[in-house]
């Protein structure tokens, strides 16, 4: 993302209209530039007062001890030291979040791609099915569905009864440290509709000739999937992967509600953002919470950059290179 933006900004600077030397630019252009800034003023105010300013402020607060009532006290690196070396709950939340992301994102994308392949047929009703599969993505972020989840996976819940048919008796999954996070992961996977719709759009772009050529060469369905479909949709896969990982790291509502607001039994579903919330808004340790937020930002940025870097090795852009 940043690279695209930079490239664009460079391109546009080249065509920037008003050279310094020109003492009096044409009247219309000046008017327009003025109008542009007037129109942009809501965004400018928002960007400076609600984004840049707060970002810098939280960077400052990360190095302070601040409880919202007394003035912030500069403590240097103390918050980070405590976070990295003394806070077991912090590391637990990191671990829980990693587990959550590493399990839920691949499974969610696999489900999304699988169903997208199933729906990628010129058949009657695909539009309806597409919408139906997408619906959970809209509903899943709500407290309502998280509450349903708590009941479904709770004691005497539907899932427990269902597993009982196979002789598996776990009891209430949401109340056991071993399983609580699994239920949150299940809720995330349930919302595979949004990446599925994006995959479908990508699948539509794969030219039919490629399949025909592959079929003529004697490639079966499996071979055609791995040699044609998968390489052709790697750009979409990258897009979905980046978006889902960023989302997974910031996931909150499901874990909050399913874990009864505490992060589940013995912190087993204490996602990073949940812990940040507890530190900031239950304990009023705003400095510590700000430090946590900045670590999150840096980690997300690093992961995004690494994904884009690695993409040179595995993302195939048709129209470039080997074609």
């Amino acid at each position: 993302m940043p690279t695209i933006a930079q490239a664009r900004s460079k391109g546009e600077r080249a065509e920037a209209p008003v050279p310094e030397a020109q003492a009096r630019p044409p009247r219309r252009r000046r008017q327009r530039s003025g109008a542009a800034y007037v129109f942009l003023s809501p965004w400018l105010i928002g960007a400076s007062l609600l984004t840049v300013g707060p970002m810098l402020a939280s960077l400052y607060l990360a190095f302070t001890d601040y409880d919202l009532f007394n003035t912030p006290r500069w403590v240097g690196l103390q918050n980070f030291e405590r976070m990295f070396t003394q806070d077991d709950r912090y590391w637990n939340s990191v671990w829980v979040t990693l587990k959550f992301a590493l399990v839920s994102v691949p499974l969610k994308l696999a489900a999304a791609l699988g169903v997208a392949l199933l729906l990628n047929k010129p058949r009657r009703g695909t539009g309806f099915y597409r919408s139906a599969f997408y619906a959970p993505s809209l509903l899943g972020a709500s407290v309502s569905v998280a509450l349903v989840w708590r009941s479904l996976f709770g004691s005497n819940g539907v899932v427990d009864d269902f597993l009982g048919i196979f002789g598996i008796h776990i009891g209430s999954m949401v109340d056991q440290p071993r399983y609580a996070l699994l239920t949150v992961i299940a809720l995330a996977i349930w919302q595979f509709g949004a990446p599925m719709v994006i995959f479908l759009a990508g699948l539509k772009q794969v030219p039919n000739e490629l399949y025909e050529a592959a079929a003529l060469d004697g490639a079966g369905p499996v071979r055609r999937f791995f040699s044609v479909t998968l390489p052709m949709i790697t750009p979409v896969l990258l897009f979905n992967l980046v978006l889902e990982i960023i989302q997974a790291f910031q996931s909150f509502t499901g874990a909050f509600v399913i874990g009864s607001g505490r992060g589940g039994p013995s912190d087993s579903a204490l996602l990073y953002t949940l812990y940040l919330y507890q530190r900031g808004f239950n304990n009023f340790e705003m400095g510590y919470a700000s430090a946590m937020a900045w670590v999150l930002l840096v980690v997300i940025a690093i992961i995004t950059v690494l994904l884009f870097r690695s993409s040179r090795k595995w993302v195939f852009y048709a129209g470039e290179g080997t074609r």
Binding site: L50, G125, F133, L139, V143, L147, Y277
Partner: protein
């Protein structure tokens, strides 16, 4: 699997056609079964909201043995001291204002970035794009402090005001993309006819932006309606609670026996989303597939 169907069907003889039909039927059966499994939690929720207290957990069937609306009447009678309508109204007010704010501010910013030439456009545009990826948590605490200093905590302002300043860069980007797709001749001829930039925006661009405006409105509404984190942080007086907050508080306060009313309230919280979905599913799904908006 999909690959086979993607190749255009060759001229079909009788037997082949029968083969295809069987396959089509099987496909429909499989996909419908998947949809049903996926929708089960929602169906279960709706049915549970009509079950009497002793049935909610013991009866796993989707149809209640003795259907009742008592859960709903209990919820309408009052939750945490206020009728559910109050929470419903609060949610509606916050979501409605958020829609107005987002549409106006993002359309304006999108028009400027997509059409007008001005100094500093490149860097500003790059910054706008970068903020799409910014995790909200980095600005969360200072924003909270700002609203606290303005004495706006426990009002709807912190939830609504930022939307009027185009802070949701994704929608700005959506608008930019759309504005770029509009033929330039239109606003040029408006300029020749003597329209200034503002009138050009209001009478020429904004009406043409309709699809992007609709997409922005729907997603803003649903996201704000579902939003839990900001509402949890900023609202603490029950009379100001939105539906998600009221639900969570209700669950915390009541014992296990009150599942029925809880589900009734959950259904009410999902009704607007369901209505939006049924009415605008095309826009929703197309919005996702063309711009990568997340549901």
């Amino acid at each position: 699997m999909s690959v086979q169907a993607a190749t255009p069907a060759p001229s079909v003889t009788g037997t082949e056609r029968r083969g295809l039909t069987v396959r089509t039927v099987l496909w429909h059966v499989a996909v419908t079964a998947l949809v049903l499994v996926l929708m089960y939690p929602v169906l279960w929720l709706v049915s549970s909201s009509f079950k009497p207290a002793d049935e909610v957990l013991s009866n796993l069937a989707l149809l209640p043995d003795h259907g009742t609306t008592s859960n709903y009447s209990q919820v309408f009678g009052g939750v945490a001291g206020y009728s559910v309508w109050q929470y419903f109204g609060n949610s509606l007010l916050v979501s409605g204002l958020a829609v107005i704010g987002n549409v106006l501010s993002c359309a304006l910013a999108g028009y400027v970035f997509g059409r007008l030439k001005f100094r500093g456009r490149g860097p500003l545009f790059a910054f706008m794009i970068a903020t799409i990826m910014l995790p909200h948590h980095v600005v969360l605490i200072p924003q909270y402090i700002i609203f606290q200093k303005l004495d706006m905590v426990n009002t709807f302002w912190p939830l609504v005001l930022p939307k009027f300043f185009a802070t949701e860069a994704f929608f700005v980007f959506l608008m930019v993309q759309f504005v770029r797709g509009l033929p330039k001749e239109l606003d040029e001829s408006a300029t020749i006819d003597g329209c200034g930039p503002f009138r050009t925006f209001w009478y020429v661009i904004l009406p043409l932006l309709r699809p992007a405006v609709i997409t922005t409105s729907i997603f803003t509404f649903i996201w704000t309606w579902n939003d839990f984190f900001s509402q949890l942080i900023y609202l603490n007086d029950p009379s100001k609670f939105t539906l998600p907050l009221a639900l969570q508080i209700y669950v915390d306060q009541t014992s296990q026996s009150a599942f029925g009313p809880m589900f009734a309230m959950s259904v009410l919280a999902l009704v607007p989303i369901g209505l939006f979905f049924v009415a605008f599913q095309r826009f929703l799904v197309d919005g996702v597939s063309t711009s990568g908006l997340k549901g």
